[in-house]
């Protein structure tokens, strides 16, 4: 019988510290067993339970793209007891992974459409996965526009990649920070404001992921521009434990974020109490 509670082992290949105060670290993990690698079929937007035996388990969105074979990437903000232990990991250490769990961004609906991606802070992980996936299959999609906001230039994650994307002509990147910062020549302003100012075409499909307050203020801006609720998608988070719709922690209305989500359209969320 399938036992989704059992983690499989992965090895920490590479650790990248993403910001100067070292609260954000990205972990590249490699599969140890070939069998686990073959079974792990996923899409951008899904999540895993990441654990260190004896220290506990927490859910994180997968930051790598299925097109990056053989590795899984997670960016972890040091916040509580499990994430503190994850930050203590060294390259070569073994961790436990369960997944892929949950649903994914509506990739099929995105085909032949213009796509707008709006992200904030370190919640950019599954959006990064989606962007890398789209760039690997660039011919499938129309125009790709990305709005990404961080507190200061130092708080963007995946900085090198952002530069590469910025240099390409098949993706438009709007990077914005909260307040003016010495040497910063790109946009300044909060994500909702920038979203209203960059002339988005309301025919596009939008993916929004970020801190709850960012999502809360960005959604009305999108609606005002003319985006339909059915074409706005966001990813929700709760303190998920089992990941398979049993433990009850991620219930919102009659949905469980871990099996019915984490990705929901705004049209769906409008029907669910407690979503925001």
């Amino acid at each position: 019988m399938c036992n989704t509670y059992l983690p499989f082992p992965m090895k920490v290949e590479r650790i990248i510290t993403e910001n100067p105060d070292r609260t954000l670290r990205t972990f590249d993990l490699s599969f140890i067993n070939e069998e686990d690698r073959e079974k792990f079929i996923y899409m951008p937007g899904q999540f895993c339970e990441f654990s260190i035996l004896g220290k506990g388990e927490s859910p994180f969105g997968i930051a790598s793209s299925p097109t990056e074979e053989g590795i899984l990437k997670f960016t972890v903000s040091r916040t509580g007891s499990v994430t503190r232990e994850i930050h203590y990991l060294q390259e070569g250490d073994i961790v436990g992974i369960r997944g892929p769990l949950g649903n994914w961004y509506p990739e099929q609906l995105m085909q032949n459409e213009d796509v707008v991606i709006i992200g904030g802070g370190f919640a950019f992980t599954t959006l990064r996965s989606m962007i890398v996936y789209m760039l690997a299959h660039r011919e499938r999609y129309g125009k790709i526009t990305v709005i990404y906001g961080a507190r200061t230039p130092e708080y963007f994650i995946f900085k090198e990649e952002l530069e590469t994307w910025d240099a390409r002509d098949d993706i438009t990147l709007h990077l914005t920070i909260d307040k003016p910062y010495p040497g910063w020549e790109k946009l300044v302003g909060f994500v909702p404001t920038v979203t209203g100012e960059v002339n988005l075409d309301p025919k596009a499909l939008v993916l929004v992921c970020g801190p709850p307050v960012m999502i809360k203020y960005t959604l009305p801006v999108l609606t005002k521009i003319g985006f339909k609720d059915e074409k706005i998608f966001t990813s929700l988070e709760r303190r998920m434990k089992c990941g398979i719709g049993k433990c009850g922690r991620c219930g919102i209305g009659s949905k469980y974020i871990c099996i019915d989500g984490p990705v929901f359209s705004l049209a769906e969320l409008n029907k669910i109490p407690e979503a925001f």
Partner: protein
């Protein structure tokens, strides 16, 4: 239908033990709960409802998911024998059947193998649930609100009625039939027995208060999520979680590691939406930070959200929460209040 003399019960239970691990109500301090029974003397049938609920049998309050050490991960061995439970009440049996839908078939998606809970399934597989008619229901009982009653056989493998000198036993499932047919002391009932059963049932049903019509409860709850009524309903609640602990259908849990990095166990423990920490995130953000939200969540889950996913209420009317609540909150009064509320 079969019968055997009440004095043959120990023999019947021994017969069950040949094939099954037997669980039955037993003393636990001053209270009663379901326990694995080795001899008849351990059984305590003095109470109608056990203090603690029978979900423990298939979903223990603390359960090891796996242990780990330098050799890797090891899951606990599956049980040697299937489980037979003596002394369930119909409300208990029905609650176990509901939990089975959750644990072996989330959201009615049987094709999703990864959503099945092997720990529940291993223990539940081939189990024999024997429920007993309630000859004198308690004042806290309200199973008749849920199309059930003291003589409801629904969900049982074997249904038992205790008469004056006999136990009457009805095989409801094929499995139950077979077990009864194989017990040497079991005889067929006659017309006199049928008359006794009929009288007992009529007497039992007369003890029940009239059922409340709750057919509008779900649609009402759909409309009052942000109604100020919740302030009135939840004001008394101290979020102690006792109701969820003794509830036979509440099934939320926590997953936690016990031990050190090199050696230990991952366990799951009963948890409840009544507790502040249930939804609190490491960042400090808590989507359900106040008590009223949590009371609303428990009521909504039982009588609204669960209906969306499983087409039934997550409550069997056992009344344990009514007897245990330290501030005398009565779920029946809450339901009445909701139904009477003008929107």
């Amino acid at each position: 239908m079969y019968k055997f003399k009440i004095v043959y019960l120990p023999e019947f239970l021994e017969y069950l033990q040949e094939k099954y691990t037997l669980w039955a109500p037993a003393k636990s301090g001053t209270e009663t709960e379901f326990k694995v029974i080795s001899s008849f003397a351990e059984i305590d049938q003095s109470r109608l409802n056990t203090t603690l609920n029978p979900k423990e049998i298939f979903f223990p309050r603390r359960e090891v998911l796996f242990s780990y050490d330098e050799n890797g991960i090891k899951t606990p061995p599956p049980p040697e024998k299937p489980v037979a439970v003596w002394g369930l009440r119909t409300c208990d049996t029905r609650s176990i059947r509901m939990l089975d839908e959750v644990f072996s078939n989330a959201h009615q998606m049987p094709e999703k193998e990864m959503f099945k809970d092997p720990y529940w399934i291993n223990k539940y597989a081939d189990s024999l649930l024997i429920s007993q008619a309630c000859r004198q229901p308690l004042s806290t009982c309200f199973c008749n609100w849920f199309n059930s009653g003291p003589f409801d056989e629904t969900g049982s493998d074997i249904f038992v009625i205790k008469g004056e000198v006999n136990y009457y036993l009805k095989g409801i499932s094929d499995k139950g039939q077979e077990v009864l047919a194989g017990f040497a002391k079991a005889e067929q009932t006659d017309e006199k027995d049928a008359a006794e059963i009929k009288d007992l049932q009529a007497a039992a049903e007369s003890y029940m208060s009239p059922a409340l019509d709750i057919s509008d409860l779900k649609s009402k709850l759909d409309k009052i999520w942000d109604d100020p009524l919740w302030e009135e309903i939840g004001a008394k609640c101290i979020n102690c979680g006792a109701c969820a602990y003794i509830c036979p259908t509440c099934h939320c849990f926590d997953v936690s590691d016990e031990g050190k990095a090199g050696k230990g166990k991952r366990v799951r423990l009963w948890d409840a939406c009544m507790f502040q920490l249930f939804t609190k995130e490491a960042s400090g953000h808590n989507p359900r930070s106040n008590s009223l939200n949590r009371v609303r969540q428990r009521v909504m889950h039982k009588y609204n959200y669960f209906v969306d996913n499983y087409q039934k209420f997550l409550c069997t009317g056992c009344g344990r929460c009514v007897s245990v609540c330290p501030v005398n909150m009565d779920i029946r009064e809450i339901i009445k209040k909701i139904l009477a509320h003008e929107i």
